[in-house]
Symmetry: none
């Protein structure tokens, strides 16, 4: 089920310009069903599942979807969070907990507004939701351009997956593309980088940093890599800028090789 | 449990100025529990039940409340919708279906705004939700000052009781001025980089890019430098990240010098 369209990600992503919902390792099929129900209430039907714990398709999910079967029928499976977002231009990660990273934190409303504006400009946008028990891990979050936190009662914050998707979907549905709180001005000849392009750059620079010894501390390597991805992920890089950054890394490194 | 405070309704209603949630003839105790959970997430704890179908208190409700026990413990029983709203100054009735009556129809957002303003002026406000299967009847609706309709997908409108209460509660909660739309989250031990630190990094990397030949095209150099500064300038770099980036450039370059 996964990957049939991943060879032509832009076609898949652009199918209707609506929000993509990604669930990372959902544990209970009932929750996937409730997410589908919440989504269709909000006019959304593009569901992506990263390694669901139970078999898929799943009858318990269908029962919980209360008629939102077509969301489940269209759902695609992915082997990793990175694979599930690879064709998207702007990705939000939902998390209630502050993490030790520097990242923009949006409310569902400002996230919806931002994503609407980007979708109106032809970009593919998505929101990633974590496991029921443990949420998203830092590597998942590092893949996102921004964090969405639902600003509810700090004394009792207990939204289940369906409720969280509902609030995001509701804000998406009720937001209009007309008003953007921020706008990314961009030369006409370029476009935002896809996540695949970003990941290609990450792997390139990380490979070179392994070579030169910058990432030699094995214990610290994962957090250093995350920090680096967060830093570049925040910059809303264009395709051209990703190419420039890769050129910079190559130039510095080739000069080194030329000396050999 | 019902009515202990009904002899002094104003004292009960004015206890904290927050929104009252009224469920009319809820059928499943699980749904009452999910409503309690949704409410407490939104900082609400004033639940009123009109003739619940099953016995009350109810363990199934407690299980579904996921820890929002105090909402259930405080819940009050009423013999009629009229009795449940008698002390309120402004009552909204939720219904998805247009009825043959002349009444103001609000979205959850405009209802929240209206109710906040009234609560701030000392009024008691509440929202009435109908039976799972059949919603509110016309007599219930006639008791309300306004109707609230959730503006979702007209092709699939299937909110359960917990979801409907969540959306109203969410709008109530976020209509307080305290919720900022965006915020830059950052680890406590760091701070945003100063412009001086940014400029130091720019000069450092540009110097190295002159060395390795990346900026050798004199005509294009100014715009390339500008683009690079724009790219990093957008990322809201922290002091620590600027140090990391300088470390990366140095590492790549020192490996080169070591070969000489």
């Amino acid at each position: 089920m996964s990957g049939t369209d991943r060879s032509r990600p832009d076609a898949a992503a652009g199918e209707d310009g609506s929000l993509v919902v990604v669930l990372v390792e959902p544990q209970l099929p009932e929750n996937i069903g409730m997410v589908a129900r919440a989504m269709l209430n909000c006019g959304l039907d593009r569901l992506r599942l990263v390694r669901p714990r139970e078999t898929w398709p799943n009858d318990k999910a269908v029962a919980a979807a209360s008629g939102a079967d077509r969301v489940l029928d269209k759902a695609r499976l992915y082997p990793s969070t990175a694979a599930a977002v690879t064709d998207l231009h702007f990705v939000c990660a939902t998390t209630a907990r502050p993490r030790y990273m520097t990242k923009q934190v949006l409310t569902p409303r400002s996230a919806a507004s931002e994503m609407r504006a980007r979708a109106a400009a032809g970009q593919s946008v998505g929101v990633v939701f974590g496991r029921e028990a443990s949420g998203l891990d830092n590597d998942d979050i590092a893949l996102a351009q921004a964090i969405v936190t639902v600003p509810l009662n700090p004394g009792f914050s207990s939204l289940n997956l369906g409720m969280a998707v509902l609030l995001l979907g509701y804000e998406w549905f009720t937001s209009s593309a007309a008003v953007a709180p921020t706008e990314l001005m961009m030369p006409e000849e370029t476009r935002p980088a896809t996540q695949a392009e970003l990941h290609g750059f990450y792997e390139h620079i990380e490979g070179e940093l392994d070579q030169c010894g910058f990432l030699r501390n094995i214990a610290k390597r994962p957090s250093m890599v995350r920090n680096l991805r967060n830093l570049f992920g925040r910059a809303s890089l264009t395709q051209q800028e990703v190419r420039t950054l890769r050129g910079i890394v190559t130039c510095l490194v080739e000069a080194r090789h030329a000396k050999r």
